[in-house]
């Protein structure tokens, strides 16, 4: 059984009387101990998926489909059960550790807080010891526990977030862009740390980033999102090196491989603007920006389709020809 599975997950935000779809039918699966990378440009709905897993979306969001965490549907769970599952079953390393930590409480207290909440056997003293342990595991001196978030550097804060995420020994960690806003050296350190910790403890991980190369390095499998949908999914190396969906390919090319002279000359980035989430007409939502669009793309909006052994893509060019009208 998969540890995390989403089936037809949809999320729409109500804004100014309209509903803006942010996630439009996402199926994901992570086996116990598996690692999945979720990539896509800003605003494509990655964080929304992450928040939906623990039902943390604001009241303005309407959620559909199902999210199964160890077989239980999070979206229909009773409140008490949901609170028990949060952090103990799955925890999140949030995007932007500056704002995700409480500025007026010591980081040690913030790490110990979920421990005390979820494990009745813990006393404040033992929880504090555990917080110090956790800090050591993420490479911070135990006395960091007495610091306030603003006294730490961005990298240190991100380490604190990771320590906090591991506090209750969850079986799944969701890391939402754990390294944006950090400089390259620190980014590499943090990623290595996360990768090691997850692998050593057999924790499943969903890592979110807009940087395909980072994910390809840290994860077994990759999923690429565009405008609220998964457009390609498969083993990390293959998706990164040989994407079938033109968007996934462009995303891969946007980041040069260090030491690869060919990537220096390859066209980088993607022309055009990100799609308007409110209104996508008929046809493939990527068509306006697609370099290899065909006539049929104007009316066919392809679903994910098998695009090789153990991988799939949502592009007419991988559809078997008889599928096309």
């Amino acid at each position: 059984m998969n540890h995390l599975e989403t089936r037809g997950l949809t999320v729409a935000y109500r804004a100014g009387g309209r509903e803006v779809p942010a996630v439009r039918g996402v199926d994901l699966a992570i086996p116990p101990g598996g690692t999945l990378g979720l990539a896509g440009e800003s605003g494509c709905g990655k964080s929304t998926v992450a928040l939906a897993v623990l039902r943390l979306l604001p009241a303005t969001a309407r959620v559909g489909g199902s999210v199964l965490l160890a077989g239980e549907d999070v979206l229909t769970m009773a409140w008490g059960r949901l609170r028990a599952v949060r952090w103990a079953g799955a925890s999140i390393v949030f995007q932007g550790a500056m704002h995700s930590l409480n500025a007026v409480r010591r980081v040690g207290d913030q790490i110990a807080e979920p421990v005390l909440l979820h494990e009745s056997a813990e006393t404040p003293a033992s929880a504090a010891r555990r917080a110090a342990d956790l800090l050591e595991r993420v490479g911070l001196p135990p006395r960091t526990a007495a610091a306030y978030p603003h006294e730490l550097s961005g990298g240190q804060r991100q380490r604190v977030m990771i320590a906090m995420a591991l506090a209750c020994g969850p079986r799944l960690v969701i890391a939402d862009e754990p390294t944006t806003a950090l400089d390259v050296m620190v980014q590499a350190q943090i990623l290595r740390l996360l990768k090691d910790l997850v692998a050593r403890n057999g924790i499943a991980m969903m890592m979110i980033s807009h940087d395909l190369s980072v994910l390809a390095d840290a994860c077994d499998r990759l999923a690429v999102m565009y405008a609220g949908r998964i457009v390609e999914e498969g083993p990390a190396r293959q998706v990164f090196a040989d994407a079938r969906h033109p968007y996934a390919a462009a995303l891969g090319a946007a980041f040069p491989v260090v030491g690869d002279p060919a990537s220096r000359y390859a066209p980088r980035g993607l022309a055009g603007d990100p799609p308007d989430p409110a209104g996508s007409g008929t046809g493939c939502s990527f068509r306006p920006r697609c370099a290899v669009a065909e006539d049929r793309c104007a009316y066919v909006d392809p679903a994910l389709w098998r695009a090789g052994p153990d991988r799939s893509a949502a592009c007419v060019r991988v559809l078997p020809s008889e599928e096309v009208l």
Partner: protein, 303 residues
Amino acid sequence: MSGTPARPSPRALARQRRRLALSGFWRRYRRHRAGLLGLAGLVLFVLLALAAPLLVAPGDLSVTRAPHDAYQPPAPAHPLGTDNFGRSLLDLVVWGSRVSLTVGFLATLVSVGLGTLVGITAGHYRGVAGAVLMRVTDWFLVLPTLVLAVALATVLSRSTLTIVIAIGITAWPTTARLVRAQTLAVEARPYIERSRALGGGHTHIMLRHVLPNVLPLVLAQTTLLVASSIIAESTLAFLGLGDPGTVSWGGTLQDARRAGAVSSGVWWYLLPPGAAIALVALSFTLCGRAVEGALDPRSREGR
């Protein structure tokens, strides 16, 4: 005979844009039900103050030839009762709205004008001048305003103008702070840089660019300040610092207290003027909050 296709002049374009912005503002304002209620109350009281000479005959407010008996409880001839001289309280409240509203508006005008001037100047001229202005503002901000207003009203001669000055001079610092913050935000925008590069002088930038962008904020602040100015006016009048020759709500309350209405339980002498003050202040406050809400982009989507 214009052969060229009608091309709107920049001025006309600007005017049209302003009209659009105004109708958008009104659309957002209408969403605040309390704001509409406040607007209704405000219009009512302004009309009342304007129509007062038609509703109240000059002799009705005379102390010596009052039309009714003293201390009469409400009755059809005098729906809100009479005071210690036999004047109808309804007449007093209607007439009193003139002074209260006038002082409220004028004092607000003084304080908002002063606050805007200081705020824009302090925001525009950074450096020493701005810093000094802000220090003065901060200093005024912590002074106990009522005490200062009372002190001013004590040393100046007793008149409505004195009250206007006393309130106006004590209430400007909050406006100055708000306007300065907004000025800093506006001056950080790129077109100010461009205007400066094109040779726009200080006055030009402050008047043509900063002021129009600060005005919406000032409008909201004005509406809120009128409420507190009216309360301040009644307070000063109640402390005996008003013009004894005019009828105002606070002054009527002071008369009531002097005449012993409190200890003898003549509640109808006290109730109407105070209720009028509270209603007007509440109306202005509700309007001010609705204006703020309609201007605040965060609340635009009705979050």
